[in-house]
Symmetry: C2
Subunit: 229 residues, 2 copies
DNA sequence: CCCGACAATAGATCCGACGTCTCGATATCA
DNA sequence: TGATATCGAGACGTCGGATCTATTGTCGGG
């Protein structure tokens, strides 16, 4: 195995073993390089790899630190790779969304508070069905995000955020040209919020499933079988 | 922004824009470095980062290629970061598993064939409740994997594989010392398989939920509130 | 006590060199 | 002719050193 990959594992091990805790600082590149037995150049490759995965936080002129390692950070890296997925994968991603989002809505209904409901309400009210695509995407992302956030499961929230984040939604919306798609979406959002306010998990889940599946159906139609490589 | 991060984005863009397709070869490091306006060392940091995320495949002595970019590969990177999660995150991860796995079992029940059922059966029969922890973990992983694979959603399958892969399960099992935990697990696996054979999605989902939740409950008890930082 | 200059520290980037692996072209033998 | 052995160009792997720049803490002046 290459010395760089070796270093990646060693550093990871230093973290999992507890030798390096969240927020802790690593030795300087020169020193760490010597300790792990590789040049500074090669070590930097390892550090960069761990940095893009949000495991290390490199501060120029200061030092290199272990991040907080919270799900929020670690799952952020997932966003990056999801952007690389092809159109066909979008269908499968929606298959996962239709599982996760209704479940999240169900959980959210159980944890709903007036403040959260009001903020979701505001989110809806501020949206103009005649607005630009960017505005609609922004609202759509924020609304769904607000719900998964309210599920009480940070991990779930960040996972949904990653696999159905801005870029993915933007791609979808750009494809949707149907008249009234915006209005329909907003209406469905309202309906979901109503269920959440009532603390009705089953209804919330059902309406979310309906909502997500609506887009999914459009997507399946828009994705010709040829794309299934 | 650092030239290395710039390069990462540029290369990613070359892929998303279609300029570089899956399996295609990148220019040599020297040449690509010149084109992107950075040294070979810095470029290599960018390439290494994309390599660990399974976006690029570097073959020594040959060249650097774009991977197939299939979900199978891209979600593999998720395994790496999941290993870094703390014990407290495990509880939340289980919260996601109890959503995904029953749903996957439900889908699997709809797609079940005799061959798949037989292979799952074999998987169970070969397991010895008195065997070593490693054996049990190996069986457990394989059984659950077999089910999500049968869901027909590759993305879902790889996602579950990543967030509840070998390392996570090993950590759990090492913690389980209860008498009969192994036998109970195997019995539950049998019951799930029966539901799958019957093509009963609801029963399959229910039994899977029961199964996963059993471990989840143990985990919640074993995780003291202090861990909730 | 506050603030700016200075020096030490640490990462950012580059250059050039050498090792080693792959693959394909060429040469060789049956 | 065809299979095999050999070799060299090309490409990644690794290293050491040199220079630049950002950060931080210190120290003296106001």
């Amino acid at each position: 195995m290459a010395v760089t990959d070796e270093a990646i594992l060693r550093i990871k091990e230093m973290i999992t073993s507890g030798e390096l805790g969240p927020g802790e600082r690593l030795p300087p590149e020169k020193e760490l390089g010597e300790r792990l037995g590789l040049s500074r150049n090669s070590l930097r490759e390892a550090v960069k790899a761990l940095e893009v995965m949000r495991v290390l936080d490199v501060r120029r002129g200061d030092g290199t630190y272990v991040t907080s390692l919270e799900p929020r950070l670690l799952l952020e890296a997932l966003t990056f790779v999801v952007d690389l997925h092809t159109d066909h994968s979008l269908v499968e991603i929606f298959g996962v969304r239709r599982i996760l989002e209704p479940a999240a809505a169900s959980l959210a209904a159980l944890h709903m508070t007036d403040e959260i409901a009001d903020s979701l309400q505001l989110q809806i009210d501020e949206t103009d069905a005649e607005g630009s695509i960017e505005e609609l995407v922004s609202h759509d992302v924020a609304f769904h995000q607000g719900i998964v956030d309210a599920s009480g499961n940070e991990y779930l929230a960040r996972l949904v955020e990653s696999i159905s984040g801005g870029t993915v939604r933007a791609r979808i919306w750009r494809g949707i040209t149907q008249q009234g798609a915006a209005k329909r979406t907003i209406d469905e959002h309202r309906a979901i919020l109503t269920a959440l306010r009532r603390g009705d998990p089953e209804l919330a889940a059902a309406r979310m499933l309906t909502h997500v599946s609506g887009v999914e159906e459009w997507l399946r139609e828009a994705t010709p079988p040829e794309d299934v490589a």
